[in-house]
Symmetry: C2
Amino acid sequence: MIETRQIKNFLVLAEQLHFGKAANLVNLTQPSLSRQLSSLEEQLGCTLISRTSRSVELTAAGKEFQRLAHGLILSIQDAVRGTQAVAQGSRGELKVGFTSYAAWTILPAVSKSYLETYPHVRLHLHEVLPADLTTLMKSGEIDVGVTVHPFDGSLRYQQLFSEPLCIALPSAHPLNQLADISVKALEGSRFILSRRDTFAPLYDSIMQACSTGGFSPEEIIYTNLQQSIINLVAEGLGVAIVPQSMRKFNHPGVSYRPIESSPEIDCGICWDPTNQNPCLLNLLALFPPAA
Amino acid sequence: MIETRQIKNFLVLAEQLHFGKAANLVNLTQPSLSRQLSSLEEQLGCTLISRTSRSVELTAAGKEFQRLAHGLILSIQDAVRGTQAVAQGSRGELKVGFTSYAAWTILPAVSKSYLETYPHVRLHLHEVLPADLTTLMKSGEIDVGVTVHPFDGSLRYQQLFSEPLCIALPSAHPLNQLADISVKALEGSRFILSRRDTFAPLYDSIMQACSTGGFSPEEIIYTNLQQSIINLVAEGLGVAIVPQSMRKFNHPGVSYRPIESSPEIDCGICWDPTNQNPCLLNLLALFPPAA
DNA sequence: TAAAAATACTCCATAGGTATTTTAT
DNA sequence: ATAAAATACCTATGGAGTATTTTTA
């Protein structure tokens, strides 16, 4: 087998065209370098350098091998640097699973801040259902979830953001005449809700807010996208309780009102602590626990 | 320095994901392979394989290095094969200097026959003056001359072809009435000739033919291209003695007549015997001395 | 004759082997 | 308890050094 040491020393020799000088440069003695070249030539089955005691010059094959060997050494150096870059997470791939709530809230900021520090990492962003997150993470299809708390003991979760809920009313709704509205005022109104199985933490918080107000919604329309909820409210089909960040949609047919001591809904990142993907570790280092 | 042995063994290990099995495949023992990998990882400064007594798996850096290392091994094999191909002359470059006389005669056949056997060699064909041939060959700008005898003691020459001269007459010339013409009949005619310094062997042969006929040309028009000589003969400006191969131009205004026991003009290849270009050696082997 | 590569031999560093320990399931 | 990797220690091969010979201009 041809060893890189032989290749490197050949390149110096091909440059110097003098065994003694080349041997000095690579910290060998002339006889050692002489034998090393012979061994290389024997392995290749051809002469690379035609030499007498008075002249040392490359053969045609020697010139070709010099050209190719130079490329080889560069490739090896590139491979070393490439591998180190992946080990440090400055290159590589990070598969991100996010829920739609994350997409409205922290996903843009998290992605932007990560890519500012690690611009050469390829991010794969997959929108997933909260219910699928654990499975996808265990099977290695995603490295990190940007989502509400996954409630899975084998995953870790780091909260990055939380916000209160607020009331979403049609602009034309009679309650809009009042300066202050409590949740209790919504009793008996038709509620627009997403089903518990699409977004349990939000559903539970809404129910909690209602029960604090002393009632539970009776007339309900279910729809599974938050954007649809806002549209249905705008059409006057009912009222809703939504995360405050929904206000950014700024729909002209909808008014938002704060909820006193509202339950909070939170969002963050979750990951499998046994996943050693350096890109994941770097992401986690960017968002360290408050502790 | 990372050695190819380490790279190859890593690839087997990355494939097997089992130190014992991989060690067997590469004729090592498990502890040796274990240490060899540690050494590789130390040189790279990162872990390639995360391992416990129960599981062996590639890290992200390990997968990247596997990908890159695979390419490296292929590149090394390519370099070996490429170098061997150049050494055997099946790839490479052959710089050919040819004179115009060779271009009308043997150059096409020589090139074709060489390229049939060595299709991957890059031929560089340069038209040169016979006078420049020796200099260009000594300076390495051409490897082989396709030409008349160079008369240079440090070069070798292998004749491949020879032909007699013939008389070229304007079709309208009075001598054309006769069935047989001897060179002597041309005495007193105006001769179209190229100067001795452009093509000495031809010039000398023509003079020899005339002196055999018992005269030497008096009225002379000099022009240095054989094609021009034919054109001038066709216009009736004079007669010429040309190599028989000029008949292939088949100019309607020119008749050709044989010359009895004409001197021959020859053509072949010449080369510097110290030039070891494998492509040259292969060419010479295709045209061995008649001996 | 002199400069430089090749050869002969000697030696030692390090790659590799053997025996054993550690580790994780 | 067992399978497999790591470690400790020993061995030996082959790469490297020193001294010398050969070669060629």
